[in-house]
């Protein structure tokens, strides 16, 4: 059974929202954190519902609704979101008052909006959608786990179409804290990969896809497979897992035209990509995405959005090619890892 990517939508630090893929106009930054270029939500979300929504909820809801509109689906058969951090702004707002006011005179709004399932719930509420609704919150696996659930629903015939998204926000507080762990550095996005050193650029985003188990008239691509692996001990083990994934899908490295890697400019992070691209995938075209959206746990959802548009256009924009030749992309492998712990593979091909 084939799974079709009927439509995609993304709110990101790029001019992605409302556009069909990248990228006449790539945004270049010199920064240690990238923020989303957000649309005017008032024209997208019912004003009565919007007043309680924090930024990440608006990003998620607007991206989800945009995706449904492009797919011409009013109410999906399931809504599945992946978010590692959930609603950070509401969480820190409630926590700050709790500490500063010594647990007194607190109000409920920030608390009720802080739960990780708020985005998925608000989408359901706006659509009056009583169908399957789930939220995955496992760090760098959040989006992939959501995709896996969607694929199973489609295979079970429990759903004909499923809305799946990856959403994470960066707040001043979360940036301050993550920065203290030494995850980020000031860099020029266009030169992020040139001389890897410690740290990457922080990012955020909300990217949704509508998956369907029947072909439509205007599908973007086919999602062939998704897989994750956890804490590989060595690079060799990662390579084995990737080989196994390709074999499980009756493919060899030669069948891949483009590899989208999760390169992020961090010297430790990028080693595995260097080895793969000079080994198993040498001579293959490599495309990167974290200079566009920054590093965050569900960044792979942005990569899928990008891959779907590359397949649909049957063209890799030269500006996106990190290494290798201009090719007509028939099949893309996305390989991303988050802090060396959460590794994920997605396979996307033409319809």
């Amino acid at each position: 059974m084939k799974i079709y990517i009927r439509a995609t939508e993304s709110i990101s630090p790029q001019l992605s929202f409302g556009n069909e893929g990248l990228l006449a106009d790539l945004q270049v930054y010199e920064a240690n954190r990238l923020s989303c270029l957000e649309p005017d939500y008032k024209s997208l979300i019912d004003p009565k519902q919007i007043r309680r929504m924090s930024r990440v909820i608006k990003m998620g809801v607007a991206s989800a609704l945009g995706c449904l509109k492009k797919a011409d689906v009013e109410v999906p058969d399931a809504i599945i979101t992946g978010t590692a951090y959930g609603c950070l702004e509401d969480t820190s707002s409630f926590l700050t008052k709790l500490v500063n006011q010594n647990e007194e005179m607190l109000t409920p709004t920030a608390f009720i909006q802080s739960t990780h399932n708020t985005i998925g719930a608000q989408i359901a509420l706006l659509l009056k959608c009583h169908n399957y609704n789930n939220t995955y919150v496992h760090r760098g696996f959040s989006f992939e786990n959501a995709l896996l659930d969607a694929i199973l629903l489609l295979k079970e015939q429990s759903a004909e179409n499923v809305l799946v998204g990856g959403v994470d926000e960066l707040t001043d507080t979360s940036f301050q804290i993550l920065n203290r762990f030494g995850f980020f550095k000031q860099a020029f996005t266009n030169e992020l990969y040139n001389a890897p050193s410690k740290g990457s650029i922080a990012g955020e985003g909300a990217s949704f896809v509508l998956l369907a188990n029947q072909p439509g008239n205007n599908d973007n691509a086919v999602l062939e497979a998704v897989s994750t692996f956890y804490k590989p001990a060595t690079i060799e083990e990662s390579q084995e897992k990737i080989n196994r994934f390709l074999l499980d899908n009756d493919l060899s490295p030669n069948d891949i035209d483009v590899v989208i890697t999760g390169r992020n400019g961090d010297e430790t992070n990028d080693v595995v990509y260097d080895q793969l691209m000079s080994g198993m995938f040498r001579n293959k075209t490599e495309v990167c995405f974290k200079h566009l959206c920054g590093e965050y746990p569900t960044a792979s959802s942005f990569a899928l959005w990008m891959a779907a548009s590359i397949i649909k256009k049957q063209k890799v924009d030269k500006k996106l090619i990190h290494h290798g030749e201009d090719v007509i992309p028939q099949r893309i492998l996305i390989y991303n890892h988050s802090q060396g712990i959460h590794h994920s593979l997605m396979l996307i091909s033409g319809c």
Binding site: P47, K48, I50, R51, R52, M105, L106, T107, P108, T109, I112
Partner: protein, 84 residues
């Protein structure tokens, strides 16, 4: 009373994040719940804390809620009557 009513409207707009409204958009007698501003149970809890925080008034009986929060005017009257 008029000053209190205006001030209350400003507090309500801020506390409930009624982004597009100004005090002039809220009638003194306009219903706050169900009709009018169509606030809900979560807003009611926000308003209870607003009374406490801004005016030092603790709503003694939950059953009084609907009466006190009927409109901005009834809120202002309650504040005037209960303020120490």
């Amino acid at each position: 009373m008029d000053k209190l009513i205006l001030e209350l409207k400003e507090h309500i707009i801020e506390q409930l994040n009624l982004q597009d409204l100004t005090p002039a958009d809220i009638g003194d007698d306009e219903p706050l719940f169900v009709e009018g501003l169509a606030l809900d149970s979560i807003d009611a809890l926000e308003l209870i804390v607003l009374l406490q925080q801004q005016y030092g008034i603790k709503l003694s009986k939950a059953e009084d809620g609907p009466k006190v929060f009927a409109s901005v005017k009834t809120m202002a009257e309650y504040i005037t009557a209960n303020k120490a």
